[in-house]
Amino acid sequence: MKPILRISDLSTRFFTKSGQVNAVESLSMSIDDGEVFGIVGESGSGKSVTARSLIRLIESPGKITAGKIEYRNAEVADEIEDSNPEAVDGDYVDLAALPEDVVRSLRGPSFSMIFQDPESSFNPTLTVGEQIAEAVEVQRRASSNPRSVKSRTSSSAYSLRSYAYGTIMPNRSYVSSESKDRAVELLQQVGIPDPEERVDEYPHEYSGGMLQRAMIAQALAGEPDILVADEPTTALDVTIQAQVLNLLRDIQEETGMTILLITHNLGVIARMCDRVGVMYAGEIVERGTLSNIFDEAVHPYTKGLLGSIPDIGSAGGRLQPIEGNVPSLMDEEMGNRCYFADRCPKAMKTCLEKPADLSVDGAKEHEVQCVLAKEEYDESDALDPGQFEGEDS
C-alpha cells in the first residue's frame, strides 16, 4: 500500500537576528496508513519543528524552505485540484505547496495535533465542552463544505495558541445539541469520569492528566487521518503517563488512525511505536523498526543515546554518556561533514564528507546515515580528537 504521508527533502530554517538556523535539514521519510511512527531526539534535534512543519505551525522567522510533504487523500486531492493544481499529484497533495489557509482548513479532518502542555490549547474562558463541541462543528462544516472553514479561519496571526483557538469561535454556547452530545461522548471515550458534568467545567477545574485527555478528545473530534503527538506525556507524572499512553494505544487500535509521535523518551517510543526515526541536528540519522533501533543500532549517536539511559533493571555501573554538547545548528557553523563527527567516538577522516541522506522510499528498511553503514571502523583512519577544538565550548 502507498504511504499516507511522504516527506522528501524537507528543510525548515529560522532566519534569526544572529543568523540562519537549519532546524530541519533535507529530511525524508514516509509513514504508512495506520502506523505509529516515532521521532526521538534531544532538545534542538529538530523533532518538534519537523512535526510543526507538517501542519504549518512554523512561526516567523521560521520558514519551510524546501521539500515536499505529500499527504494521500483522494477526496482532498480532488477538491484542491481546481484551485492548486501544482500541489496535486494523483491521490497525493503536497502540503508544502499549498497556501497557509488551505493547510489550516485540513486541520481537524486530516490532521490534529496534541502538545505537551494542554493549558495552551484550551481557552480558559470557555468550558471544555464548548471547545470540543466547536471542534466537532468544524469537522461537520468541513465535511459538507471545505471552503467555509477556510474563510472562517483565515486570520493572519499565527501561533500555537491561535492554532488551538483558531478552530474555536469565541462564543459561549454550543452550536447545536448534537455537538454537545458528541463532546460528552468524546470525553467518555478518553476516560473522563462523569463526562455529563465535566463537559460544563472550565479548563482550570481539570487536573493536568484530565486536561491532557480532554485535549486528545478535542483532537479526535475531527476524526483525523493523522494525529501528530508532540511530547504528549512529558509534563505528566509517570502513573498518569501510563494511563495516557494506554489510552492512545486503545484509540489507535479502535480507529486505525496514523500517529506521528515526537518524544525525547525512548521508553515512550518502545511502548507506542511500530517504527522509529532518530533525529540529530535536524536530520534523521537512523530509521527502522523498534528492534532495528533498540537491538541492532548502527549509528554511534543512537548507540550513545541508548547507552546514556540509566537502566531501571539494575543498579550502579557507569553510564556511557555522549561527550560534548548538541551543535548550535547555525548555518555558518555547520560545515559540510557528518554533524555528529565532533562527538562521535568512531569518527574517521571519511566523516569529514557528509554521509548520504536517507531515502524516501527505502523507508521500510533499516537505514543509517553514517559511513559505518557501509564500511568498518578503521582506527588508523581515526580523526584527531583535537580536530574540532574551538568550534564550540
Binding site: H264, R271, G316, L319
Partner: protein
Amino acid sequence: MSLKDTLRSAQPESSGPLVEVRNLEKHFYDNDNIIDRLLGNGPVSIRAVDGISFNIHRGETLGLVGESGCGKSTTGETVLRLQEATDGSVQFRGDRVFEMNGDDLSEFRRNAQVVFQDPYTSLDPRVPVGQTVREALDIHNIGTKTERNERVRDLLERVGLSEDQFDRYPSEFSGGQRQRIGIARALALNPDFLVLDEPTSALDVSVQAQILNLLADLQEEFELTYLLISHDLSVIRHICDRVAVMYLGEIAEIADVDTLFESPKHPYTKALLESVPRAETAERDRDIETLQGDVPSPRNPPSGCRFRTRCPEVISPNSMDIDQHVYRELMHFRELVENEEISVHKIAQDAGISESATELDSREQKAFVETVKDEVLDIELPSSHESTVNDAIAHLVDEEWERAATELRSEYESICETSNPQLTDDEQPVACHLYK
C-alpha cells in the same frame, strides 16, 4: 596549610547517621483566594509533608522519589532549613538543626548544601560564573582572595569545566555546563552533605549521563553524603543506595535500592515501577495495569491510607466474600456517591423516566437502578452483593446521597479508610495494612 585543608579540618567523626529526620511536618496555609477571603473562610492547610522520619547515613545516597505534589522537594528544603518546619526535628551529626543559631547555624550552612533542578534560573545571569562559585567563600570569609580564586579554578576543573572559563557569564554555557557550575558552587565550602533536587531533570539524556557520572565521582572523592530528590525511577535506581517512596506527604516505603526495585511491598511502589516505560522492544507487549484516577489534592487528603482511592489492593472487610476487582470497583463507586459525582438527571433520562415524573413506579425504579449499574458501576455484581447495592442506589432517585453513602459504608468500609497505616519497624519499612 592550604585552603583546601583548612576547609577539610572539619568535625570530629562521630558514629550514627549523619542526618536524622523525625516526624517532620511542613504545612502551608493558603488563603490567597479572593473568594475565600470574601467569604471569610479561614486559611486552608496544605500538608505538603506530614510526619515523616528517616535517617541518612554517612557516605550514602538516599533517594526520595514520588510524583508531583508528594512533598519530596519540600522535604529537602525543610531538612536544610531553607523553609521553616511546622513540626518535627532534624539532627545533623547529632545536633538539632532547627535550634541552631549564630556560629552553629553558619557551620551547618557550610556543611549542608543544595543543587537545584534548573540550571537556567539558579545562576545570576549578570555575575561571571567564577564569582558565583566563589560567593560562599567570600561570605564565610575564608582564605585570602588569591586562595579563594585558586580554589574556584580548582573546582571548575574538578567538575569538568576549564579554569579559564572563570570570567564567562552563564549565558555562554549549555544546560549541562551550568549544572556543573551549580555543583561547583555547592562544593565550594567542602560540605559533607548535598541535597540534589532533581539535578538532571532539565537536561537531555546524553548530558544527564555526564552529570550522573560526575556526581558519582565527586561523592567518592569528597566522601559526600547525598539526598537525591527525583521523580525519575531510572535515575534513582542508578545512583541511590536506599530509597524512600513518598505519596501525598507521607513515606510509603523505605528500602535499599535493590530490594525496593526487585521486591517492592507497598502497592504504590509496585504501581510506580510498573508505570515506567522501558526502552526495550518487549515494552510494546507488556501489559500495564494502570492506576485509576489522579493523585488527590493535599488540601483534602483521603482519610486512612492516602493511597486508598487508587490502590488496587485495598482491603475488603474481614470475612467478606468478594472478588478483589469487584471490591475495588465498589470502592470507586462509593467514592462517587460520597462526593455526589453521579449525574442523576442524565441517568433518569437514559432510563426513559420522564422529567415530570414525581413518584416512580417500581418498574421505573428498577430501570433507574439498572442504568446506574450499567453506566457508572460497570461490573457484574455477584448476587450476594446485589441487594445492598441496589437498595443504596435506589436512594439516589431522590438524591438522598448521604443515605446511600451511609448504607454502602456500613457494609463495605475498609480498614484502609479508617486507619492510617504506620511504617513497619523492620528491614523494609512499609506503611500499608497488608503488612503488619
